[in-house]
């Protein structure tokens, strides 16, 4: 809408011609100038400028909907009112049915905690026929870290849905719906994202997984704050992809250790600086999500996977629908499973902390059990 041509929105001919003569072609060009600048540039009076701007604005402005009609639309047109169930009962309940369509869901956690496992499971669920509660669609899996394992995918499928995967030919059909793509660089990724936008509709893609987002920039991401975020464009593009194709998008994020003078305080809080420092030492958590606060604002749901004294936890750390909850989980042959469906309430620093205490023990343990 922003790129509407001024000559095609029904302004009076005389003023539309003045806009054209001054090379103000699109609505974006016109609205990027203040009324005063327009007066100077177009050499017309105040009254003409304001009425022209009002007209352009009314055309460009998106239409409104009441929240009620929005909800009715979702319930009517979409499977499960726009959610992809994760089959983890506690998590599905907390998220009102599963991973919502149209927004970004992020998984953060230390290496080996189970992010990729969770993504594999979700890919399977989206490709399942709808009679089995799936979305019956294709999945695009962008595998930046080259961690996708087809064998593991089939294993999870066979263990979780034996009735489907043991039928002849079904395993091939299901895994045939999952398209894995490995970009070599950020620029290749950028290029391909735009092609994906076109193919999303054509191929009935029902889920997009990016594993992981952080790996794309880890080489180029420097400590400190760049003026413009390297993923700035991607953030808004991926969000709009989710929004307009109404599919869930799941991205993973790595962790890095917190640098010493990392910002976590507002200036009016500074007097308590020391105190908080000690707090953090006590919690033993020096890990933070690799992509910074800018990225964190952009994701709608953030799920943290962490390990604490030998136990893995899945935490709903940011969500507009669910209170912060933690679920203990385990990785089994059939993928992730929750040990309890009743979430533990979280408060304060616990919500955002990412721990990896005693984590290496579990890796060995589950690594053996998988073989």
């Amino acid at each position: 809408m922003a790129n509407k041509l001024i000559r095609e929105i029904g302004l009076p001919k005389s003023i539309a011609n003045i806009f054209a003569a001054r090379n103000i072609v699109t609505a974006k060009d016109a609205l990027s100038l203040t009324e005063f600048e327009l007066m100077e540039l177009l050499d017309v009076g105040w009254a003409e400028v304001t009425s022209a701007v009002a007209h352009i604005s009314a055309i460009v402005c998106p239409p409104y909907q009441s929240a009620l009609s929005l909800m009715e639309q979702r319930v009517q047109n979409e499977h499960l009112a726009g959610h992809l169930p994760t089959r983890l009962k506690g998590l599905d309940e907390a998220l009102c049915g599963g991973i919502p369509f149209g927004v970004l869901t992020e998984l953060v956690g230390p290496a080996g905690i189970g992010k990729t496992q969770f993504c594999l499971k979700l890919s399977l669920l989206a490709s399942l026929p709808s009679s089995y509660g799936g979305l019956d669609g294709h999945v695009i899996y962008i595998d930046v870290e080259s961690k996708f394992s087809s064998r593991r995918l089939i294993e999870i499928g066979a263990k979780s849905f034996p009735e489907i995967f043991l039928t002849k030919g079904m395993a091939q059909k299901m895994s045939g719906r999952i398209l894995v793509w490995r970009p070599a660089s950020l620029s290749e990724f950028t290029e391909r994202l735009q092609q994906i936008k076109v193919s999303l509709h054509r191929n009935e893609v029902k889920l997009l997984v990016i594993d992981s987002m952080a790996a794309l920039v880890s080489g180029e991401y420097e400590q400190g704050i760049p003026r413009q975020h390297p993923l700035g464009w991607h953030v808004s593009f991926i969000k709009s992809l989710a929004e307009f194709s109404r599919i869930p998008i799941v991205v993973t994020n790595q962790v890095r250790s917190q640098s010493r003078d990392e910002a976590c305080q507002f200036s009016f809080q500074v007097q308590r600086w020391k105190e908080t420092k000690e707090d953090q030492a006590r919690y033993g958590s020096h890990l933070v999500a690799a992509l910074g606060v800018h990225w964190a604002h952009a994701v709608t749901i953030r799920l943290v996977l962490e390990a604490k004294s030998g136990q893995r936890f899945l935490k709903v750390s940011k969500s507009p629908i669910s209170p912060p909850l933690a679920f203990p989980f385990d990785i089994t042959a059939s993928g992730m499973s929750l040990l309890s469906d009743d979430g533990i309430d979280l408060t304060g620093p616990d919500i955002n902390a990412i721990r990896s205490q005693g984590h290496s023990d579990i890796i060995n343990f589950t690594g053996e059990s998988l073989q």
Binding site: M39, C61, F268, P349
Partner: protein
């Protein structure tokens, strides 16, 4: 008074000045044909200029000697008017207290905080609370929700609306046990129906919508709160020209402030945080830079203090700087102590 202040095009102004017409009084006794001849312009154009000029000089004259500056108000009148305007409760008593009773109508309030602190929750809560009927100490009005991030969840609005109605029914039961007549006739769907939702996908659309709001609100007179969630998002991506960004943002801020004043409604802008290097260490601060921080009347920062969520009044012309705890529950924004779930009414 200078001709330079008239809202006419630059070339017309140039012609006036070069022909010697610098003051409004020099224009006052002219006929359109004289002026047209003098400036070598068409008679229509000359008539237009004279019309604008006479309007300008009339505005400049003191009205009946009473008002020294036209359109101004005395401080006493303003105080009276301030008291007339209701406030929108946040459903958290402590937060209402530091805000002087709630979010003020006629003012622009900016609310910022780290991801996951509850900005969107507070936004949704206000969109629901503005609809509390007048009998229950509310405004009985409607809300506009401008979503730039796509984080608006209808499921959550429904939850909060249901909880709000539940609380009102409870309060109803306490106040008038004997009356059957005072039954509350409100359904969550009514609340959802009265939230006008705009999804904005680019900064151009955001500017367009800001311009268009004036017309929209004139058509929907009972809108009393406009929530922008968030004002930051589109201005943070893909913007190379920082000077242009500042200019556009201040334009938006001015228009929203005018909107708040003219229609007597509350404008709530949600903002993200960024990091800034101050005095040798990195600190959190609200996004969009220093010039933006001047453009809102009130600024509230949400932050973590130990295990509790706090709101801090960072800037306000009338409120002292203070902080108050709040919590986000399944019912929405509430007091931080879990045993105190009373909602502020009457």
């Amino acid at each position: 008074m200078e001709v330079g202040r008239l809202p006419i095009s630059a070339s017309q102004r140039g012609k006036l000045i070069s022909a010697g017409y610098t003051t409004l009084s020099s224009l006052s006794s002219l006929s359109p044909s004289d002026l047209a001849l003098d400036l070598r312009i068409s008679e229509n154009e000359a008539a237009e200029i004279l019309k604008v000029a006479s309007l300008g000089s009339r505005l400049d004259e003191p009205e009946g000697g009473r008002a020294i500056v036209n359109g101004a108000q005395t401080a006493w009148d303003m105080l009276h008017e301030d008291e007339m305007f209701p406030r929108i409760t946040t459903s958290c008593l402590d937060l209402d207290n530091v805000l002087g009773g709630g979010i003020n109508c006629k003012e622009v309030t900016e609310i910022g905080g780290v991801p996951g602190i509850g900005k969107t929750q507070l936004g949704i809560q206000l969109a629901v609370n503005v609809q509390i009927p007048v009998d229950y100490g509310g405004l009985g009005a409607k809300a506009i929700y401008i979503d730039t991030e796509g984080s608006f969840m209808v499921e959550r609005v429904l939850q909060i609306a249901e909880a709000c109605i539940e609380d009102m029914t409870e309060c109803n039961g306490l106040l008038r046990k004997d009356f059957q007549a005072g039954q509350l006739k409100m359904h969550p769907n009514n609340i959802l129906e009265n939230i006008f939702y705009f999804r904005v996908c680019s900064y151009t659309e955001q500017i367009a919508l800001t311009n268009y709001l004036d017309k929209f609100i004139s058509e929907h007179k009972d809108v009393k709160v406009v929530i922008v969630d968030s004002v930051t998002f589109h201005f943070r991506q893909d913007f190379d020209d920082m000077a242009l960004r500042t200019r556009l943002l201040s334009g938006i801020a001015l228009k929203l402030m005018k909107l708040a004043k003219e229609h007597g409604l509350a404008v709530v802008l949600l903002n993200q945080v960024t990091t800034k290097y101050i005095e040798g260490s990195f600190q959190l601060t609200l996004a969009l830079g220093d010039s933006w921080s001047h453009s809102c009347t009130n600024r509230v920062i949400l932050y973590w203090n130990g295990n509790e969520r706090y709101a801090y009044i960072d800037k306000s012309p009338s409120l002292r700087s203070a902080s108050a705890p709040y919590s986000v529950t399944s019912k929405g924004i509430r007091n931080s102590a879990s045993n105190c779930k009373r909602i502020r009414m009457m």
